[in-house]
């Protein structure tokens, strides 16, 4: 009657043991974390130092080392929600387009007359021509500058929209191009932010694109949101400056329109530079690590857009043999000597690079400056002590809650209540196991979710036990009562938990941060509590029943 097939028993026991095995490292959180950090570092650097080996030895390699991520509210750290000013890029694009527009209109001078750029709203380029009757020709000429948009959705649509109003040529980016541009801007911004945060070497930062124009940045362990903002650096710009001189005096006085900047790699070395850059990173379209064809040394190639290429070509032609400085974030990355005029818009930087350095420099050049300004809409700093206090309070509350529920269940259902309590303990273990395996983040409301689950998880058991009580009054024999209790309570258990699960899904979809953390523990708690209630307690009860064969049961 009360049979559970062997494979079924094995499966239940396996799932429980696996869950507990993955949850177990959380009991030794700090140890395992240091072990994991050491392993990650060894993997990255390839070198095993004594210190690292000692850290790694804190936890045996053969045991699972999965940990629950602690959310910002538990670990402390900074949270920023940044909005990328996408329109900045449209403006820069229009500024970059103006010389080209000027050139094509000049070529059509006999039809359009003289031209003049007008003030225009952001993202539009207005050009007034002196012969209004030539407007059609002007529009047609400017349209030749449009190229097909390259994107996943809008291949073929032109990049520019050009229309004429009386004597005014109005150029804007087309809708498809705006979308493609926005997408690029966001990708680039996220990449730059990630690079910068990673450089700081903090553990497990979260950098996510949110919606059309936002980036969510969460960095655990950082002192304050301000520090994080400094790190991300909203003003980063790449510039190329003529070099006036080189000095080791960091306080040297410089002439007006000159600046003194430190070298990035060489300590104590400063460069005196012309203040106004020859070209800026805005004009770069690409940069790749490469090798110098003659010397075979690592090098970095770069390519300018046409406007930048012209400026750069003119400058290098006039200054062969002189050094120019590549400056990023107010630091001179390198100051190579111009060997020949660079007129093609592309060039190569050589220096004392290693392969890694050239790769890094190429990345810096490609993704050096944020393409658009970022405005911070939300910032939160949580101190590590507050998080530690919350964890301690949550732990105590969870223990007290568990003890109280256990007493309550045993008083109410006797032995069966004790079975439910064991299942409950396994349930909390399973929640931690699942959280660890899927790499979910535990937040303070998440802890509340677990405590709430402790209270609610017994619900499925209560449903079953109450049903067994009822069936015991009418059914023939204890085995039948237990069996009927389980099968008849199932529909209510499923309905009750599915509705709560729907809520957890909605919370997950719409929430963020701590609320999402709550929805995850609530959702996982529902699944594990149903599992423990209908499989684990059943297995416990059936095993007990098989051994004792009681003639009567007291639920």
């Amino acid at each position: 009657m009360l049979q559970i097939p062997l494979w079924n028993r094995l499966m239940i026991v396996t799932v429980v043991l696996a869950g507990l095995a993955f949850a177990m490292p959380n009991l030794f959180y700090e140890r395992v974390e240091r072990h994991n950090d050491a392993v990650a570092e060894i993997e990255q650097t390839g070198a095993v130092t004594d210190a690292l080996a000692a850290e790694r030895a804190l936890w045996p390699d053969m045991l699972p080392a999965t940990l629950v991520n602690l959310g910002l509210d538990l670990r402390g750290g900074a949270h920023l929600l940044a909005e990328v000013q996408l329109a900045d890029v449209y403006e820069a694009r229009m500024d970059g387009l103006w010389p080209e527009v000027r050139d094509v209109l000049r070529d059509a001078r006999d039809q359009v007359g003289t031209i003049r750029r007008q003030d225009a709203p952001v993202g539009e380029l207005h050009v007034r021509i002196s012969q209004p009757e030539g407007i059609a020709a002007a529009v047609a000429a400017v349209r030749t500058l449009a190229t097909p948009v390259v994107s996943l959705t809008g291949v073929g649509a032109p990049t520019l929209e050009v229309r004429g109003e009386n004597d005014l040529v109005i150029v804007t980016l087309s809708e498809a191009e705006r979308q493609a541009t926005d997408d690029r801007t966001m990708q680039q911004s996220v990449e730059i932010v990630r690079r910068r945060v990673d450089e700081a070497g903090t553990r497990e930062p979260t950098i996510q694109r949110q919606g059309a124009d936002r980036i969510l940045i969460q960095v655990p362990g950082i002192g304050s949101a301000q520090e994080l903002k400094d790190l991300i650096g909203t003003t980063a710009r790449l510039t190329f400056h003529p070099v006036v001189g080189r000095t080791s005096d960091g306080t040297a006085s410089v002439d007006a329109r000159q600046i003194l900047l430190p070298a990035m790699d060489e300590e104590g070395v400063f460069y005196i530079l012309e203040q106004s850059p020859v070209v800026t990173g805005d004009d770069l379209v690409d940069s790749q690590p490469a090798f110098d064809q003659q010397s075979g040394q690592p090098a970095v190639t770069f390519r300018f857009n046409p406007a930048g290429a012209r400026d750069f070509g003119n400058y290098t032609a006039a200054n062969v043999g002189a050094p120019f400085a590549i400056v990023l974030d107010e630091e001179v990355i390198s100051a190579p000597v111009i060997r020949q005029a660079i007129t093609g818009g592309s060039g190569q930087i050589t220096g004392n690079f290693t392969v890694e350095e050239s790769t890094e420099l190429a990345v810096l050049l490609r993704a050096g400056a944020l393409p658009a300004e970022m405005v911070f809409l939300e910032e939160r700093t949580i101190g590590p002590e507050l998080g530690a206090d919350s964890i301690a309070a949550g732990e105590i509350a969870a223990l007290v809650a568990f003890a109280a529920v256990l007493v309550f269940m045993v008083l109410s259902y006797g032995l069966f209540g004790a079975f439910a309590a064991i299942a409950l303990l396994l349930n909390v273990g399973l929640i931690f196991g699942v959280l660890s395996v899927i790499g979910a983040t535990l937040t303070l409301p998440g802890i509340a979710g677990i405590v709430l689950t402790i209270g609610m998880a017994v619900d499925a058991n209560v449903l079953v036990f109450e049903r067994i009580r009822e069936e015991w009054r009418t059914a023939k024999g204890p085995a039948r009562a237990i069996e009927l209790g389980y099968s008849r309570a199932l529909s209510a258990i499923i309905d009750a938990n599915l509705t709560t699960f729907i809520i957890a899904v909605i919370l997950f979809a719409l929430g963020s941060g701590p609320v999402r953390g709550f929805s995850i523990t609530l959702g996982i708690g529902i699944i594990t509590s149903v599992f423990t209630a209908i499989y684990v307690t059943r297995l416990l009860i059936v095993t007990w029943f098989d051994r004792r064969r009681p003639k009567t049961i007291e639920v």
Partner: protein, 322 residues
């Protein structure tokens, strides 16, 4: 000797005082809405925008001193409240300072936060700032929208689910009970002026989830009994179902409340508002499952011929075996 919250056999007529209980619920809802309109909600920065700074110091909190220190900064509406908690040590004197969103500022203004911190350090040298949170008005507006959508989406999802699994009358009754719970919770938050923020919305949704859980268990039994007792009056069958599940209803609420009580007392002040909302919601939700949901179903009536039960509803899980 077993602990029994209710006797083995109960025969309570839950409709005997229907006027009182259901009427009481309606009155409580009207009162809640009245309080809500009259007193408003104590919105947190999630919904209003602005900055909250949590301070901690070994010296006892002197709200007047803090207020005087911040007065020269002319920050508009500043609220300073001391926080008490049984988990604090003797050296832990905590206060929460809330500063309204500044006029015309689209985003967060770090200069203001720095000025506030400097002003406080000047009067309380050992003060520290365990948490500083700022939300710009742009985001807070969107958060309100998201919160409302979340609550409505949950209600809609439950309406549809119960409709599919039971009958439409059941889903109307269930959702009426949920609206009752949500409104009463908003009412108590308004009455006690507890901070209402994103976590409170999460709590509201949890209450919805919990309350529907209770309601569904009773409905499930009701459906079973409706099939069993085809000719008994609906009211009797409802009473029978509620009595049969009463022990379970109170057991589950009891264990949940015990766990929540531990969290409410020992869980720290950071989540106290959140836990309080759920605690309150469990009480209200249990009540509404017994006294509101069924009454609504009774009022609109339900089909009595269950002789051909829908293959779609009710039985689809019964063949799942452990």
């Amino acid at each position: 000797m077993r602990l029994r919250l209710v006797p083995q056999e109960t025969n309570i007529d839950f409709f005997k005082y229907a006027r009182l209980t259901f009427g009481g619920s309606v009155v409580a809802m009207v009162l809640s809405i009245g309080i809500w309109l009259a007193m408003g909600l104590n919105f947190g920065i999630d919904f209003l925008g602005g900055t909250t700074i949590r301070t901690q110091s070994a010296v006892a909190v002197d709200v007047g001193l803090y207020r005087d220190a911040l007065a020269p900064l002319a920050l508009g509406d500043v609220s300073i409240t001391q926080v008490f908690d049984p988990t604090f040590g003797p050296e832990q004197n905590v206060a929460m300072i809330r500063i309204q969103a500044q006029e015309g500022a689209e985003a967060v203004t770090p200069a203001i936060i720095a000025a506030v911190e400097a002003a406080l350090i000047a009067v309380v040298p050992d003060i520290s700032f365990p948490s500083v949170e700022s939300v710009g008005p742009k985001v807070s507006g969107e958060l309100i929208q998201t919160a409302i959508i979340a609550v409505l989406a949950s209600l809609a999802a439950i309406l549809v689910y119960i409709w599919l699994r039971f009958e439409w009358q059941f889903s109307v009754g269930a959702v009426a009970a949920l609206i009752h719970d949500v409104i009463l919770t908003i009412g108590i938050f308004s009455l006690l002026q507890i901070r209402f923020d994103l976590a409170t919305i999460a709590a509201l949704l949890t209450i919805i989830g919990y309350s529907i859980n209770d309601t569904v268990v009773i409905f499930d039994r009701l459906r079973e009994n409706l099939i069993k007792y085809k000719s008994r009056p609906l009211q009797d069958v409802m009473n029978l179902s509620a009595n049969e599940t009463l022990s379970r209803t109170l057991m589950t609420s009891g264990t949940t409340l015990i766990a929540l009580l531990a969290l409410l007392i020992l869980g720290g002040d950071v989540i106290r508002g959140f836990v309080f909302a759920i605690f309150w919601g469990v009480i209200v939700g249990t009540y509404s499952s017994i006294y509101v949901a069924k009454n609504v179903v009774l009022m609109i009536g339900v089909k009595r011929d269950w002789s051909k039960p829908d293959q779609q509803s009710g039985t689809q899980f019964s063949n799942i075996d452990a």
